[in-house]
Assembly symmetry: C2
Homo-oligomer: 467 residues x 2
C-alpha cells in the first residue's frame, strides 16, 4: 500500500511535499507506468490529509504529465523514458557563492580610459532620472519604439546640428545599446554578402565582431592621410569602417582631399557604404571640431555612428546611428520588428540631459579636464628619466597619444616585462594586422584615467624596462 510520512516536509505545504514524493517515486521507477494510484478519498483518509490536498498534488502531477486520469477508473502513472538520473535539484545545496575575481587589478593601466566617478554629473543625472520616473506624462513603462524614443532622437538631431554641423532628421536616427550592437544591426541591414573593410592599424574589436558573424572582412592599409584608396580598391571592399575626424590609434585627421576621394569611391557602386565612427569627436582641444564625412556626403553613402559611452560614462550603454534616408526605409522594412535595446527611462533621462544643455556643459568640463590631465601626464614624462629616449606624437585631440621609445628591445619583450610589474600597455603592433612595415616601439598612452601621483614611479619603472 502506497504510503508516505511527512516528517521531513519542512515548511513546504502538504500538497507540494506529497507531489514531490510521488514524482520522485515515479521518476525512480518505484511506481512503474500503468500503476493505479489510490483514489483521492481513500488516499486522503489513509494519510490523514484533506481530499483537497490529494487533489492538488494529483493536479500538479497531471499538468506535468507524470500521471493521467481515466474517467471513472482513476489515476494512473504515465510511461517514463527509463529512470531519470538527476537528483531533485531543490535538495542539492545552492552553489558555492564566491566573489568574482575576474577583474584584474593593474598597478597602472595605459589601455583604459575609464573615468573617475567624480567627473560624472551624478547629481544632475539622478535628478533628471527621478523627474522622468515620476513624470506622469512620460510613458516610461511602455516599450520603446524600435528606433528609440522620439524625444531622444530629436535631442540628438539638435545636438548634431549645433555641434557637428549635421542637418539630420530624428527619423534617420536609430538608438541602440552600444556601438557593437549597432554594428550587428548594420550587418543585418547591409547584408552578409559584402566585404567589410577595417582600418589597419585600427580598433581591434571590429575584426572580432565580423569574424563572430561570419562576415567577410579585410584590413585596409592607412597612409599618412588615412585610408588608402588604392588599398581599398585592391582589397575589393564594399563597406568601409573609418574614423576620419580622429583615427584610433594613429590620431590621423583625414584631409579634405582624401575625404572627397573616399566619398567618390563610395558613390561609384550601389552597394558601397562608409561607416563613419565619430567616437571621440567631442574631445578636440583647440580649434573647431572637424566636420564629419556625413555632412559633406551628397550621395547617401555615409552611415554616421556615435556613442554616449565614451562622452558620458562607459556604464551607460547608449549609442546611435544616422542612416541615409534610403537605408532608413530598408531598416524599417527589414529590421523594424526588433525592440529597442535601451530602457525607456534612460532614453528620457538622456533626452532631458541633452535638451537642457547639461551635455554641452559636461563635454566642455571634460574637455578641460582631459586637456589638463594630458598636459600633466606629458609634464611628468618630461621630468622622468624616460624622457631622453622618447618622442611624443599627439594631436590636439582625443583621449590618447603615442609614445615612441628609442630602444633595441622588442615591443613584445617590453610589454611582457612591464606586465610582470603590473603595468598594462599596448603598442601600435597590437592594433596592426599582417603589415610588413609596422611602426615599432610606438606605444599607445590612454591618459585620461592615469593616477598622476603614482605615475612618476611607474615611468621610472618603464625607463628601467625599456633598456
Amino acid at each position: 500500500m502506497l504510503t508516505y510520512t511527512f516528517e521531513n516536509r519542512g515548511e513546504k505545504p502538504y500538497y507540494q511535499y506529497l507531489y514531490e514524493c510521488l514524482r520522485h517515486d515515479i521518476e525512480q521507477g518505484e511506481l512503474p507506468a500503468g500503476t493505479k494510484l489510490p483514489s483521492k478519498r481513500s488516499f486522503a483518509r489513509q494519510l490523514g490529509l484533506s481530499v483537497m490536498t490529494i487533489e492538488s498534488a494529483y493536479e500538479q502531477l497531471m499538468v506535468e504529465g507524470y500521471i493521467y486520469a481515466e474517467e471513472k477508473r482513476g489515476y494512473f502513472v504515465s510511461e517514463m523514458l527509463g529512470q531519470m538520473r538527476y537528483p531533485m535539484q531543490q535538495e542539492r545545496p545552492l552553489y558555492q557563492m564566491v566573489q568574482d575575481d575576474s577583474r584584474q587589478q593593474w598597478r597602472m593601466d595605459f589601455t583604459s580610459n575609464q573615468v573617475d566617478r567624480e567627473r560624472f554629473p551624478m547629481a544632475i543625472w539622478s535628478r533628471l532620472m527621478r523627474e522622468v520616473l515620476s513624470s506622469p506624462s512620460k510613458d516610461v513603462l511602455s516599450p520603446s519604439p524600435p528606433q528609440g524614443i522620439w524625444e531622444l532622437r530629436c535631442a540628438i538631431a539638435e545636438h548634431l546640428y549645433h555641434f557637428r554641423g549635421m542637418n539630420v532628421s530624428p527619423e534617420q536616427i536609430v538608438i541602440g545599446a552600444g556601438t557593437e550592437y549597432l554594428y550587428h544591426m548594420l550587418i543585418q541591414l547591409l547584408g552578409r554578402d559584402h566585404v567589410y573593410g577595417i582600418e589597419n592599424p585600427g580598433y581591434g574589436k571590429l575584426a572580432n565582431i565580423y569574424a563572430c558573424n561570419n562576415v567577410a572582412y579585410r584590413f585596409v592599409d592607412l597612409d599618412e592621410q588615412g585610408v588608402s584608396i588604392d588599398s581599398l580598391r585592391a582589397k575589393q571592399v564594399d563597406i568601409l569602417h573609418t574614423s576620419p575626424s580622429h583615427h584610433f590609434p594613429t590620431g590621423i585627421v583625414m584631409p579634405i582631399s582624401r575625404r572627397q576621394k573616399l566619398l567618390a569611391w563610395a558613390a561609384r557602386e550601389e552597394n558601397r557604404y562608409i561607416i563613419e565612427d565619430d567616437y571621440d569627436c567631442e574631445f578636440r582641444f583647440g580649434g573647431l571640431p572637424i566636420p564629419t564625412l556625413q555632412s559633406i556626403d551628397a550621395n547617401d553613402k555615409v552611415i554616421y555612428l556615435n556613442t554616449f559611452s565614451k562622452s558620458l560614462t562607459p556604464s551607460i550603454r547608449i549609442s546611435y546611428m544616422v542612416l541615409p534616408l534610403p537605408l532608413m526605409e530598408r531598416f524599417r522594412d527589414k529590421l523594424g520588428f526588433y525592440a529597442c535595446t535601451v530602457a525607456n527611462f534612460e532614453q528620457y533621462t538622456l533626452a532631458a540631459f541633452l535638451a537642457q544643455g547639461y551635455f554641452e556643459k559636461h563635454i566642455n568640463r571634460m574637455r578641460n579636464y582631459y586637456k589638463n590631465q594630458k598636459n600633466e601626464v606629458i609634464a611628468l614624462l618630461k621630468k622622468s628619466s624616460l624622457w631622453e629616449r622618447v618622442s611624443i606624437y599627439e594631436e590636439d585631440a582625443g583621449l590618447h597619444f603615442l609614445l615612441r621609445i628609442r630602444t633595441d628591445k622588442s615591443d613584445r619583450a617590453i610589454k611582457e616585462d612591464l606586465d610582470k610589474c603590473g603595468i598594462h600597455i599596448r603598442s601600435m603592433a597590437d592594433y596592426t594586422h599582417g603589415r610588413k612595415k609596422i611602426q615599432e616601439h610606438t606605444f599607445v598612452i590612454n591618459y585620461t584615467a592615469l593616477d598622476t601621483e603614482a605615475l612618476p614611479e611607474v615611468l621610472e619603472e618603464i625607463s628601467r624596462n625599456v633598456l
Copy 2:
C-alpha cells in the same frame, strides 16, 4: 587681392568666420589649388584682425587639409576633387521638427500585454535606483563585465534556486539587453552552420531573427504534447527553441514524457541544443510552477532564457540566459570581448530589487492582478452576446487565452473587419506557418491590458462582425 567683410559674421568668432569663408571659396573653386594665401601678418593688417586670428583660421584649414604650409614660402591651397556640391550644412535650416505619429492607437488591442504604470512599483524602483546612484561603494560608472555585474547574476541564481528549482552558478549567467539580443549571441556562440528549429505554431519573431541573420531555420510541428519528435527528426533540426512550461500561443504544458524524449533527442548528437524560453513562467495561477527542462537536463544540453521585460515592465530591457558550463567556456573564449549591453546602474537596481524580495512581492501581486483581470474578462465574455458562439481554451497560466469562435466567416475577413473598427486581434493562423491543418477561428486574447469598462461594447462589436 583676397578680402572678406565680416558683416554677416553673427555670433561666430572672427577666426571661425574667416575659416568658413576661405573653406567655401576653396570648395567652390574660387581659390584654385596652388593659390598662395596672404601671409598671416599682411592678411591681418588688411582685414584689421590680429595675427592670432588669421593663424587660428589657417590652422583649422591645415588640420582639415584645405591648405598646406611650405617652410619659408607660405600657405597654399590644396588640390580638391572638383567643386563640392553640398551647401554649408550649418546654413541650411534645421529639418522640420514633426511629432512622431508612428504609434497607432487602437480602440482595443488584443495583441498587446502592456501594463498600466500603476502596476509597476515605481516608488521602490526609484528609491533603489537613487540608492545605487548615490552609493559610493558601487562602481556604477565602470563598464559592466561582459556577462553582466556579479551582484545581479548572484541575485538571479538565487531567484532561480528558490522559485524555479534550478541550481545554477552566477558564472553560468549572461545578462543582455533583451531576449532578441541574446538570440544574436547564441547564433554567434552555437554557429551558423546548424539548423535552428522553431515551434509551429509559435512566436513569430524568431523566424524574422534567423532570416535577418541568414541562419537556416525550419518550423517544427507541435502535437497536443508540444514539439513533435518525429517532426524534429524529419526536419533535421540541430538546435530547438521551445517554451515547455507554457507554449505561446497554444498554452501547451509539455508533459514529462515528452520532455524526456526531447532531452534524449538532444543528448544523441554533440551539436544538438535546446533553447528553453521560460518567458512567462512567473504567471501560473494555481499549483506549483512547472519545473524547467534545464533542471532535469543531465547532459548540458539546455540553454535557459528568461526576461524581466515581461515580468517587470517592457520598458526595462534586461534578459538573461543560463549556459551549460561547457558552452560557458566557449562563450568566454569567443564572445568575451563584447561589452555588456545593459547599463550598470540598472543592473545594480535590479539586483537590489531581487535581493530585497521586491521582485517576489511584485510577481505575487501581478499574479493576483492578472488572475482577477482574466476572470473579469471571461465574466464579461459570458455576459456578452458573443458567448453563445465561442469556447474558451485557457490554461491556468500565462497572459493570454484562446477564444474559439463558431463562424463560417474566414479569420482574415474577421480580422480585417475588426481592424476597421479599431479592434486589433490575431488568430492562431498568424502564428502558424505552412501547415495544412490550421486551427481555424481560434483567436489569441492577450487580456492583461484590456480596458474592462470598454470591453462590453467591443465584444458586441466583435459579435456583430463574426457573422
